[in-house]
């Protein structure tokens, strides 16, 4: 029994027929070939699958594709492009916050959701915000530094744009 949905993914409207038990993660990865969001556990325990749903970080493995009907999804693929990277992407590179990279898309999307809500988080707030995103490689230190650096750049950018 397929459910017709319309969902805006990275700015583009997609009309899809999804299964009732299909997760948003599976929809993004299998139907739309947006494989940036990863499956690390499929149980909401690792954060590798985090995407933004109407600007808020969600574990895409726990959201049903059908629930995204009429909403807006942003994945890592919708963030920046070479030459026009998002400040978070730039900061992750500059601070060597990426190792194997498997946690990176989820980590960046969680951080983005935090910075949209709280443009000047303390380190404690960053730690708490990304505590559901497991990374086995980096020890998190350079990730924490990268998020702070990106926050600063985003604040500067926001100020710069003001008339």
């Amino acid at each position: 029994m397929a459910i017709p949905i319309r969902v805006k993914v990275n700015g583009q409207v997609e009309a899809l027929e999804v299964a009732p038990d299909e997760s948003l993660l599976s929809m993004l990865r299998e139907r739309l070939d947006l494989t940036g969001a990863k499956e690390g556990c499929n149980e909401g325990e690792c954060g590798a699958c985090v995407v933004l749903l109407d600007g808020k970080a969600v574990n895409a493995c726990l959201v049903l594709a059908a629930e995204a009907d009429g909403h807006e999804v942003t994945t890592i693929e919708g963030l920046g492009r070479p030459g026009a990277l998002h400040p978070l992407q730039k900061a992750f590179l500059a601070h060597q916050a990426v190792q194997c990279g498997f946690c990176t898309p989820g980590m960046i999307m969680t951080a983005l959701s935090l910075l949209l809500e709280n443009p000047a988080p303390t380190e404690e707030e960053v730690r708490t915000a990304i505590s559901g995103n497991l990374c086995r490689c980096t020890g998190y230190r350079q990730i924490l530094d990268a998020v702070q650096a990106a926050a600063q750049e985003m604040r500067a950018g926001a100020q710069g744009r003001r008339p």
């Binding site: 940036g36 060597q96 190792q99 990279g101 990304i130 350079q142």
Partner: protein, 776 residues
């Protein structure tokens, strides 16, 4: 620190862009046409005879294309000891042991069919403790142990559960012990733990209609996978192609061979179709390989001056159900049994024991964190016993130039300096530790040493070739699963040929059909081995460029130099851009000299010698040692027993820092992984059923961002490694070796309790504090 133009600097990761944009493709991201989904049928028993496997109902499920069992594929597999079959044949040896596998058009059909495979088991007594496993009346996990194929330097003992035993005998331990003023004996325990890479294991295979096999796998060792697959299935290397996409972490768990035989067996059943198997997170915990457990008993005899005169080390390794790879951890722990110290008289035994637990294998550190948990606590305990400062005691007994290891190897001035690492950490701790209300605070230190554990002929090779526009392509076949090999490879190539780093492209998604040979990405050997090979290949490229340029410029080769993409005559006769040389140089009259510039080179460790089979004495058993030390500061909550790690100070003698940002990443990552095993990680089995009790990320906790110490400090000593590329030696694994022991020592310093069984959970600390209070 010595710095080149590129080596020694903070060069940004060359594969970073694809990872921050979501472009990087890992195994499960690769779309395979008409792919079938595999599901493994696993044993629910820790130990049982397999009476019968009936697949008839499974085959009748709609969408099922193949079922494979041990009857169809009774082939043995294993890197050092071939003690495992693709699927269990006559018996299962742990909960999770593969009995059969199904390939179907959908994951649902595969799951349904797998559930319908009917297996008749006859349960056997199960063995979960190595101390019981070595008793004469213990049930045998491998009654056929004497029949398995094994490399000559591993010594399984038929008729027992011992899959390897390495003996180290140096000096006269028993006589020396009698002369000791103090003797201290202790036992330490390390449980099995999981690697928990964020990307679980996955493999896919397809056999085409001509019989050629393609394998796509999340692995650390494409060439070793190919070699072992060929041995297992009787295939020619020419007909097997192994490819590795991006790998989302491995930590040793993806070394050797893992799921590849299972997907290969299925693929052979459905020629023309891709078959993919990706483990669930739960399977990753108990069905993928784990780190071996250890029971270590140490006896230390010290003379009146505080020198250790006699040291006995008895290591019992819990290899789990199969020891194919783990037997070499046993070996490495044997020839490194004394850690970072010089012990003149040694009695060492490193014994691998089968149990009915999950399969032990390589894990970052390859046995070293486990033995250091014992050795480095023991050093503190002995120091306290004789009333000496633990740091001074270490400095008095540690290895260094002119000292001999437990195998009798003489270290020289190029071997690295653990004493300097200890002193750096001690310096960082020179201020008294500030008190904190309601907390017990303490500092602890532990040292670390590790050598690469690999066959003496473990090789890496590389291929360098230029594109028409002067871009240099560097083909390397080590796996960059985050440690930064690609970046380091680019740095060495750019350094040697004096090119802008942007002009170097590292081609590194290894494909055994197209890529140069590399043994395995393990043992912290890539920077060193691949680095050396790149420097050699670069010299060959340079010679080709110079030969052509010398004719173009009319200058002798000795006068030529490479500068920013030009060959320059230092004698002033001019310059020629390499873009004019890399495909051969064409003179104005049309004639061409030279040709496409390319070179291959390899690295094989120099002069390694086997260990003496009775005593393990050897002048050069390993290629190199990396030494280090870590100090930690902790705060203990006396009510909850919770340990908060406030500060970690790490120092390693890495020979030469190659990349500042990457080496910090390796250090922070290793330290935090070490905090995980030290404080919270343990794969727990129900000892009645043999089932893992915490096979998920909620019950098996790994460190999160909240666990990162407020202060993480890293520094490096650089005593150049003689045979290292520009002096560098390995560091990837070493950073997690000393962390748990340093924590245990800090715990003792903070509150006078000593916990000898890893991990240091709040529960254990609370209980120990209660006991201490009760004793008054």
């Amino acid at each position: 620190m010595s710095q080149g133009r590129w080596v020694g600097r903070d060069v940004l990761r060359v594969d970073g862009l694809e990872k921050v944009t979501g472009a990087a493709r890992y195994l499960a991201d690769v779309k395979l046409p008409r792919m079938l989904y595999a599901q493994v049928v696993r044993s629910p028993h820790p130990h049982a005879r397999v009476r019968e496997v009936d697949v008839s109902r499974a085959l009748s499920v709609a969408g099922v294309r193949a079922v494979a069992t041990g009857r169809d594929f009774p082939f043995h597999v294993g890197i050092y000891l071939k003690d495992q079959t693709v699927f269990a044949t006559d018996r299962v040896r742990f909960v999770g042991d593969p009995v059969a596998a199904v390939a179907a058009e959908s994951p649902e059909a595969a799951r349904e069919a797998a559930a319908l495979v009917r297996v008749e088991y006859e349960p056997l007594p199960a063995l979960f403790d190595v101390r019981q496993g070595i008793l004469p009346d213990a049930p045998l996990v491998h009654p056929d142990l004497g029949k398995y194929q094994v490399v000559p330097w591993i010594t399984p003992q038929a008729g027992t559960n011992i899959c390897n035993h390495l003996k180290v005998r140096k000096g006269d331990y028993h006589a020396a012990l009698k002369t000791a003023a103090h003797v201290v004996e202790n036992t330490f325990v390390v449980p099995q733990v999981q690697h928990v890479p964020m990307e679980v294991h996955g493999s896919a295979a397809r056999m085409d209609l001509s019989g050629k096999l393609e394998v796509l796998t999340s692995a650390q060792s494409p060439f070793t996978v190919r070699h072992l697959l060929c041995a297992c299935f009787g295939l020619s290397h020419g007909d097997v192609r192994v490819m590795v996409p991006q790998v989302g972490g491995g930590f040793g768990g993806k070394a050797g061979i893992n799921l590849e035989p299972i997907v290969t067996a299925l693929a052979m059943r459905v020629p023309g179709r891709w078959v993919r198997l990706v483990l669930t997170r739960a399977e990753e915990f108990y069905a993928a390989v784990v780190r071996q457990g250890l029971v270590a008993t140490l006896t230390t005899g010290v003379d009146r001056s505080g020198k250790v005169v006699a040291q006995r080390m008895h290591y019992l390794w819990d290899c789990g159900a199969y020891g194919g790879y783990g037997v070499n951890v046993v070996r490495a722990a044997g020839y490194t049994c004394g850690g970072a110290y010089e012990f003149p008289n040694v009695w060492g035994d490193s014994i691998g024991v089968y149990t009915n637990r999950p399969v032990g294998s390589a894990y970052r550190g390859f046995g070293m964190q486990e033995i250091h948990w014992a050795l480095e606590q023991q050093m503190d305990m002995v120091a306290h016993e004789i009333g000496e400062d633990p740091i001074a005691f270490r400095l008095k007994n540690c290895l260094g130039p002119g000292k001999r290891t437990v195998t009798g190897q003489l270290l020289d001035e190029h071997s690295g300096r653990v004493d300097q690492c200890i002193q750096r950490v001690a310096q960082a701790f020179s201020e008294p530790l500030a008190t904190r209300p309601g907390r017990l605070r303490g500092r602890g230190l532990a040292c670390a040493v590790k050598a690469p554990a690999m066959p003496n002929d473990a090789a890496s090779s590389v291929l360098l070739k230029f594109c028409e526009d002067g871009v240099l392509e560097v083909l390397v076949s080590g796996i960059d699963y985050g440690q930064g090999l690609r970046t380091v490879a680019a740095q060495f190539a750019a350094e040697a040929l004096n090119l802008p780093i942007e002009q170097v492209r590292v081609r590194n998604l290894p494909d055994t059909d197209l890529s140069p040979y590399d043994w395995q990405t393990v043992a912290s050997r890539q920077t060193w081995a691949t680095g050396n090979a790149i420097l050699r290949a670069a010299e060959k490229c340079k010679a080709q460029l110079f030969e052509t340029a010398s004719q173009v410029l009319g200058a002798p080769v000795e006068r030529l130099a490479l500068r920013d993409g030009q060959v320059v005559d230092t004698g002033g006769a001019g310059r020629v851009p390499i873009t004019r040389l890399v495909m051969g140089y064409q003179f104005p009259d049309g004639h061409v000299i030279g040709g496409p510039v390319a070179a291959a080179a390899h690295h094989v460790p120099e002069g390694l010698l086997f260990l003496d089979p009775q005593t393990s004495q050897s002048a050069k058993p390993v290629a190199k040692w990396t030494f280090g030390a870590q100090g930690v500061e902790i705060s203990v909550d006396p009510d909850t027993g919770h340990i908060q790690v406030d500060r970690v100070v790490a120092c390693y003698d890495v020979g030469q820092v190659v990349n500042q940002g990457l080496i910090l990443g390796q250090t922070y990552g290793g330290v935090v992984q070490g905090l995980g095993t030290g404080l919270m990680e343990e794969l727990k089995l129900d000892l009645l059923t043999g089932k893992a009790q915490n096979a998920n990320l909620v019950d098996y906790k790994i460190p999160t961002a909240l666990d990162v110490p407020a202060a993480l400090e890293a520094s490096f000593v650089e005593t150049p490694q003689k045979d290292g590329p520009m002096g560098a030696r390995g560091i990837g694994e070493h950073t997690m070796i000393p962390t748990p022991a340093a924590l245990a020592n800090a715990l003792y310093a903070a509150c006078g309790i000593r916990i000898q069984e890893m991990p240091l959970t709040a529960e254990k600390v609370r209980a120990a504090l209660r006991e201490k209070r009760a004793k008054g």
